[in-house]
């Protein structure tokens, strides 16, 4: 159990690391390039992993509807936006805002898809997060901004 907790924590750290790398690349070249590198490198790594370590499970069961493949397209756009925003926000602020967007959308999707509504605790959570975002933006950004000449689309 402790090991699993450690792995999960570490895994979150890896996400932060990945986004920081992409942000650094976007800052010095372009967010699209960062997303491109991220996906090509990720694809190669996962291909190697699948070929070397997983055998037998790498087969589709049934025919998934085509719209499910849109996840990849949306993921690519996510990395573009995220690595565009990260250099000027700082990692922590950016992470917080992504978490909020993610959770709020998750709750929204739940409201749309589930027939019996959502738990009250979710609503409290949403309110807390919205308040947190407002609060975050009331804090004056102390440090001078990163030069942003080449990062805009």
């Amino acid at each position: 159990m402790e090991l699993m907790v450690l792995i999960a924590l570490l895994n979150g750290g890896l996400i932060a690391l990945s986004r920081t790398f992409n942000g650094a690349l976007a800052k010095h070249s372009h967010a699209l390039i960062a997303s491109c590198c991220n996906h090509i490198v990720g694809f190669v790594v996962l291909s190697a992993w699948i070929i070397c370590l997983e055998s037998g499970t790498n087969q589709l069961q049934g025919q998934p509807p085509v719209y499910l493949y849109l996840g990849g397209v949306i993921g690519a756009l996510f990395v573009v936006l995220n690595s565009w925003a990260l250099p000027s926000l700082g990692v922590m602020r950016c992470t917080l805002l992504v978490i909020c967007g993610q959770m709020l959308t998750g709750v929204m999707l739940d409201i749309i898809s589930s027939a019996n509504g959502i738990h009250w605790a979710s609503l409290v959570g949403v309110c807390l997060m919205l308040a947190g975002v407002v609060f975050l933006n009331r804090v004056k950004q102390p440090t001078p901004q990163v030069k942003h000449a080449n990062c805009s689309l």
Binding site: M4, N38, V45, V80
Partner: protein, 163 residues
């Protein structure tokens, strides 16, 4: 200062939007994973994502080249100094999928995995910001930011555990 605050606000909005995209992507990918495995679904998503960006780069190449020309000196100077690791964002990204599959199938289940991943992410984010690692602009974390962080984290936990 005025413009930098506006920029921060705009970028905050961009980051929020990217969170929306992330949730949609996870939703679609987890459904795709039901037809195969999380690993294979992520592999396909990375492939499709790579094709998407390559296509976007191709379509936007003229605008990009224009931008590049304007700041050639700048870009060249900074790019020649780019360390090798900036290109490796995909490696931890790919490893995340593999590790998440391990923890989701353990006692932690989905909720525990999500919650701990958020915490781990925030801890490392704070460290990067405080110490200025990996090209991040070094900045002190203020007390008000810590409060905002606690509020958002608490809210996220409520959402995760109310399922």
């Amino acid at each position: 200062m005025q413009t930098s605050n506006k920029l921060t606000l705009f970028m905050s909005f961009v980051a929020l939007c990217s969170g929306v995209l992330l949730a949609l992507m996870i939703k679609l990918n987890s459904q795709l994973a039901m037809y195969s495995s999380p690993l294979l679904a992520s592999w396909m998503a990375h492939g499709i994502g790579a094709i998407t960006v390559l296509l976007m780069l191709f379509l936007l190449r003229k605008r990009l080249v224009c931008k590049e020309a304007k700041s050639t000196l700048n870009a060249d100077a900074s790019r020649s100094l780019l360390p090798w690791w900036v290109y490796l964002g995909g490696v931890p990204g790919a490893a995340t999928v593999v590790l998440a599959a391990v923890t989701v199938n353990s006692e932690l289940a989905l909720a525990g995995t999500l919650a701990l991943m958020l915490v781990g992410q925030l801890i490392l984010s704070c460290i990067f910001d405080c110490c200025g690692y990996f090209g991040v602009v070094k900045q002190r974390i203020r007390f008000t930011e810590v409060i905002a962080m606690v509020m958002i984290l608490l809210g996220a936990m409520l959402v995760i555990y109310s399922h």
